[in-house]
């Protein structure tokens, strides 16, 4: 089915004082349970269990702390279904839940020095305190979102798939040239 797979807004991009682009399909697996026990199942992936509000990365994968009993594993989309089954098998008999949520999400990349300035208009987050290696679960406008620093002058945002257009419109509007608040940049 890979030729017919669609992310929420394939190819959507806008140029403002930062570039906003939908980042395509990304594998995402929700893991719930005792974080110590989840470590055991995740060990083969080479990812450290993230501390509170942190995100750890190794190769194409990353692991984000979502709540005291929830992690989010991000990995190439093509690996998600198989990884879900493997993890479910690993955790069989444990009080743990593994769910493939890859298709429930949309991912956006914000590129440019002003990325935190754009997000500051939408999220009640202190971006000066959001360091590389951290993730914030928050809201953007009127919907839920999670945000992290993905690299030099690049931030990533995850939201629910159904509100991808809303999110794209929000980010594009907040990044309109002439509206630079010059708060973080």
């Amino acid at each position: 089915m890979s030729d017919q797979l669609l992310s929420a807004l394939p190819g959507a991009a806008s140029e403002g004082f930062v570039t906003v682009a939908e980042a395509g399909l990304r594998g995402m697996i929700t893991l719930r349970g005792d974080l110590g026990r989840l470590t055991f199942a995740l060990a083969p992936l080479g990812l450290d269990i993230p501390a509170q509000r942190a995100i750890t990365q190794a190769d194409e994968r990353s692991l984000a702390w979502m709540s005291p009993d929830e992690l989010l594993l991000m990995l190439p989309y093509s690996e998600a279904a198989e990884a879900t089954r493997t993890l479910q098998e690993e955790l069989r008999g444990e009080f743990a839940t593994v769910a493939n949520v890859s298709d429930a999400r949309a991912v956006f990349a914000l590129r440019g020095k002003g990325a935190p300035d754009v997000l500051a208009k939408l999220c009640p987050v202190d971006f000066a305190a959001l360091k590389p290696g951290e993730i914030r679960r928050t809201r953007a406008g009127q919907v839920a979102a999670a945000i992290w620093v993905a690299g030099e002058d690049e931030m990533r945002l995850v939201c629910f798939r159904s509100v991808a257009q809303y999110m794209f419109d929000l980010l594009t509007t907040a990044a309109l040239p002439g509206s630079e608040p010059c708060l973080y940049s």
Binding site: M1, Q4, L5, L6, S7, L25, T30, R32, G33, A81, F95, A96, T97, A99, N100, V101, S102, D103, A104, R105, A120, K121, C123, P124, V125, D126, A128, A129, G141, Q142, V143, F160, R161, S162, V163, A164, Q165, Y166, D169, L170, T173, A174, L176, P177, G178, S179, E180, P181, L183
Partner: protein, 1004 residues
């Protein structure tokens, strides 16, 4: 006359003239002007008419406190009323018009109100328009509304053309006010290592210091301001912002800032206003002070201004309000204006001082400059009609029956002392004390606002703290102490030394002259914007209004858009005097945010147009949009109500879809249905608590319909549960109920049953889901192939998963239409492809998509209930004949106790039945079955109501369900339903299941 001086003006750029219009008249000013400055420069002293009496009014002040100079700015979808000319920066092409007059500013016929002012004294409306009662709404109010009021509301059909936005920000120390105190406080906090934000409401740093001749380290204040701003700009930990007003301080350091991003550069790309939502650890307010007017007769005439405003216009904009001014004062500060006038080469006829023996440094300097000082005196009245022509002088301690001297002048500068701008201090609970020396309220250092930890989180410095002399040392300490809240050992250097003239004590004057007779008091304005006079407040006191809050509301003192910035202290002083009590005993009214009005656009922020609110889209949304979908909102989703073909009416489209499902096969985008995974060792037990029926006995691979009730037993949600394995269930909820039910589950798991081992995961958006319903449904799916969907392999109420035409599918054999029906769930990314594949595979079978209206009709033909139609939060499952879905075996479930209450057991409860009109017509939505007689509320008595009503194309007549008293015991009875225009519709009570009572069609 007011005019522009040939030289000077520290804020204007004479090289850049700007054209603007006022009431259509072309005028010009300079870059850097405020609108008020350029109006005065053009001798436009009359700028508006007053609220009640339509008296001519001119510019009084030079900043945010201005009560009179309000104009309508712009036009069309950029028109905005009540804009202060004193804080509007001039720009090329600005269009302003004056307000509250008819037919025009110069000739205002409504000024007759002014001839009989005793008609509009305090409480006039309350006393006069009591009778006849109906006249208020239809006669009095429309007349009063035309006469009173400020600017016009923008045209209701126009839509603001500008953009607005909001932004979240954080700081250790937020300093509000960019005068020298604010700058010093910010510098100290920043040097001590704090993360600092500094806001200034105007376009310039430094506040009044340059105008008032303050010297810092022996040099003009302007030098220090420039260096300090440069230092702050270079510091990494400091964020400074002009044109950003601290609008309100709320709980726990949450502060709103109102940034006017592009008011001064209209047509630029950015937003017009930006609302800052700042969370500050510590706040310093350095908001300065506001000069008070003096209350003498005719103090509202154009040409009478605050003394400080006169020197602001002189020094900042090189604009003189007159050629020969009289200054009237009770303090030394006003002499600065006299000296500034003289220095600018203008005439000062005299300074009239209420005090005896005036010997302070500033008065002496004025004397040395040859200015005449008239001591122990006041203004009896101002002469002139539309502008000042002269003043009459009398002894300050007199009734002012006669004047002692007349002076000709074309401007009057008045100063009744200064009031610290304590608004922000007060917003979040800071208390005030009366300063006996300065005669003003100032922040009480012992009762400051407090933060989340109960400790003070706000400091105040400068004139806002009642300091009218040197301020830098105090500001430095405020900055350092605020920083030390984060780093107790932080240090900073000493402040520079600011020096200004020493001032002799002021002497309070609340009425001028002090024993003024009524004639004079009735012309002394306290609140210019709401037209409240000294006599009004005194009348209120005589009529028994003792509380300052009551007097405020009775007289409207301080209730206009300026919230009494000029009138507050004078008004309560007059009230105190009338009540014979000291001012602190009277107290002040409450200061509430915002400090000055902020735009509605800033409050709405970016939430307009496409992003007004989130619109949720399914993976097939674009297909629906391209194929004639008539949208219907379902929660935040949009679902197709029906798909209209070219030239097809909505009704015809629905009928076509309804018939096609029964005759061939239809596709429904069911992706919006809630899908919640419930898993864990205690999941079966949890499911039994959530649902009224037994879920723990459901076998993996099977589905079961279930009901959820709230604690009161009222039906809340319904849907099909699929058991995935021993410890996990997939809960389908209604489209609108998904988030609520997920929250409901988590509420019980986190708060009540925290020791149960259950996880919930909301998977609603992970799957695209399509219902394939109709006699040809199986054939259609067999066309895709890959999974055996035969009756034996997948019986009714079973589910399976596997490849279906290459899709990763989970197939549920469930039916909400009564037809042979499958719901196919695939990962959302495959949703659109699945939809296309189903349409293609069904082409030869007559497949059509169907919308929510067809869905509703199909279920109604089968007598299936719909949450929100048959339920409204007061309906229990038993009312709907769903007793079969309520377990008798379970010891408990949510709602069980609620259902056992007496009212829920009442045999008179309205029960669900089918309703069949005798003439085959469609019953009106919400129609009521009417009985004779009236109930206790004098309403017609009723015995039933319609919950669902449709035209059924399959049956060729109207069908309906409804709740009827003892309905199920009354089969065959005919009820009388109220139709439109008193028409009676006869309706027979029937079985709600109208098609395929035995369920053969869905079971094939």
């Amino acid at each position: 006359m007011s005019h522009r001086l040939s030289s000077g003006g520290r804020l204007i750029d004479r090289g850049t003239p700007l054209r603007f219009s006022f009431n259509g008249k072309q005028m010009s000013g300079y870059k850097g002007d405020t609108l008020a400055a350029s109006l005065l420069a053009a001798d436009q002293m009359l700028v508006g008419r007053s609220f009640k009496y339509h008296r001519p009014r001119g510019v009084v002040a030079s900043g945010a406190e201005e009560p009179n100079a309000l104009v309508g700015l712009g036009s069309g979808n950029r028109f905005e009323p009540n804009q202060r000319a004193t804080s509007t920066e001039l720009f090329e092409g600005l269009r302003a018009r004056s307000q509250n007059h008819w037919p025009n500013l110069d000739l205002d016929l409504l000024a007759v109100n002014n001839l009989v002012p005793q008609f509009l004294t305090a409480g006039f409306y309350y006393k006069t328009f009591l009778w006849p009662r109906a006249f208020w709404k239809h006669v009095y109010e429309p007349i009063i509304r035309r006469s009173a009021g400020l600017g016009e509301a923008p045209d209701a059909k126009s839509c603001d053309a500008d953009r607005y936005e909001q932004i979240y920000a954080f700081a250790d120390v937020l300093v509000i006010g960019g005068g020298i105190a604010g700058l010093q406080a910010a510098l100290a906090a920043a040097e001590a290592g704090a993360r600092v934000a500094l806001w200034e409401q105007t376009a310039h740093w430094g506040g009044r210091a340059p105008v008032d001749g303050v010297e810092i380290d022996g040099k003009p204040a302007e030098d220090w301001i420039k260096t300090t701003v440069e230092r702050l700009e270079k510091m990494e930990n400091v964020e400074i912002r002009l044109r950003c007003m601290g609008a309100g301080i709320h709980d726990h350091g949450y502060t709103l800032g109102y940034e006017r991003v592009s008011d001064h550069i209209p047509g630029s790309h950015g937003p017009r206003h930006r609302l800052w939502r700042m969370r500050a650890g510590q706040i310093i307010t350095a908001t300065g002070a506001i000069e008070r007017p003096l209350s003498f007769a005719g103090n509202d005439l154009p040409g009478v201004m605050l003394a400080s405003a006169i020197r602001d216009y002189l020094v900042n904009y090189a604009v003189a309000p007159g050629r020969d001014a009289v200054i009237v004062t009770n303090n030394d500060d006003a002499y600065r204006t006299a000296i500034a006038m003289r220095r600018a080469g203008l005439g000062v006829v005299a300074v009239i001082d209420a005090r005896a023996d005036v010997t302070g440094a500033l008065p002496q300097a004025a004397r040395s400059a040859g200015i005449r000082i008239i001591e122990s005196s006041g203004i009896r009245k101002v002469k002139g009609s539309k502008r000042v022509k002269g003043v009459e002088i009398c002894a300050i301690d007199s009734r002012g029956v006669a004047f002692t001297e007349q002076l000709s002048c074309d401007a009057v500068g008045m100063s009744g002392g200064w009031s610290p701008a304590v608004h922000l201090w007060s917003h979040c609970g800071g208390k005030l004390i009366w300063d006996e020396a300065g005669h003003f309220f100032r922040p009480d250092p012992d009762r400051p606002p407090t933060g989340a930890d109960g400790r003070p989180n706000l400091r105040v410095c400068g004139a806002a703290n009642g300091r009218l002399g040197a301020v830098l040392a105090e500001a430095n300490a405020a900055g350092l102490e605020s920083a030390q809240a984060f780093t107790p050992t932080a240090e900073t250097g000493p402040a520079a030394t600011d020096t200004t003239h020493d001032e002799a004590p002021m002497e309070p004057v609340w009425i001028m002259p002090r024993q003024a007779e009524y004639e004079l008091r009735a012309k002394m304005w306290l609140d210019f914007q709401n037209d409240v006079k000294v006599s009004d407040v005194q009348l209120a006191a005589r009529e028994g209004f003792q509380s300052v809050e009551h007097t405020k509301r009775y007289t409207t003192l301080g209730m206009a858009t300026d919230q009494g910035k000029l009138s507050n202290i004078n008004g309560l002083a007059v009230l105190s005097d009338a009540l014979g009590q000291p001012i602190p005993a009277t107290g002040t009214t409450t200061f509430r945010p915002p400090y000055t009005p902020i735009s509605m656009g800033a409050i709405a922020g970016g939430a307009v147009g496409d992003v007004f609110q989130p619109l949720r889209r399914t993976p097939m949304h674009d297909w629906h949009a391209a194929n004639g979908a008539d949208w219907e909102p379902v929660g935040q989703w949009r679902r197709p109500y029906t798909y209209r073909r070219a030239g097809e009416s909505r009704t015809k489209a629905v009928n076509r879809e309804v018939r096609n499902v029964r005759e061939a096969v239809g596709l429904l985008d069911a992706s919006t249905l809630g899908k919640i995974l419930v898993s864990g060792p205690d999941a079966p037990r949890f499911m039994d608590m959530l649902y009224t029926n037994m879920m723990s006995s459901l076998k993996p691979g099977k589905c079961r319909y279930g009901l959820m009730c709230n604690e009161n037993g009222f039906l809340m949600d319904d849907g099909v549960v699929a058991r995935l394995d021993e410890n996990s269930f997939l809960v389908h909820t209604t489209s609108g109920g998904a988030d609520h039910i997920h929250g409901w589950m988590e509420d019980w798991l986190q708060c009540e049953w925290w020791d149960w081992q259950v996880h919930t995961v909301n998977l609603t958006e992970q799957y695209a889901q399509v219902a394939v319903a109709g006699p040809q449904a199986r054939r259609l799916l067999e066309g895709l192939g890959g999974t055996d969907l035969s009756r034996d392999a997948l019986p009714f109420m079973g589910w399976t998963e596997g490849k279906l035409g290459g899709f990763d599918a989970r197939v549920f054999r469930i039916s909400f239409s009564g037809e042979l029906s499958f719901e196919i769930a695939v990962p959302a990314g495959q949703g659109r492809a699945l939809w296309d594949a189903l349409l293609q595979a069904g082409e030869s079978l007559g497949v059509m998509p169907y919308g929510t209206e067809a869905l509703h009709i199909l279920r109604a033909e089968k007598g299936f209930i719909m949450i929100g139609d048959e339920t409204d939060g007061t309906v229990i499952p038993q009312d709907l004949g769903l007793n079969w879905a309520i377990s008798k075996k379970k010891t408990d479930f949510l709602g069980k106790r609620g259902m056992e209450r007496v009212a829920m057991q009442d045999p008179e409860r309205w029960k669900l039945v089918g309703l069949e009109t005798l003439d085959g017509s469609v019953l009106p939505h919400g129609g009521l079955a009417v009985l004779s007689g009236r109930n206790a509320n004098k309403q017609a008595r009723t015995e039933g109501r319609v919950t669902s009503t449709y035209y059924s194309a399959n049956l060729g007549r109207g069908i309906a369900m409804g709740l009827v008293a003892r309905g199920t015991e009354r089969m065959g009875e005919v009820l009388r339903f109220a139709g439109p225009k008193d028409k009676v519709i006869k309706v027979r009570i029937v079985d709600p299941v109208l098609i395929d009572k035995d369920g053969e069609r869905q079971n094939v």
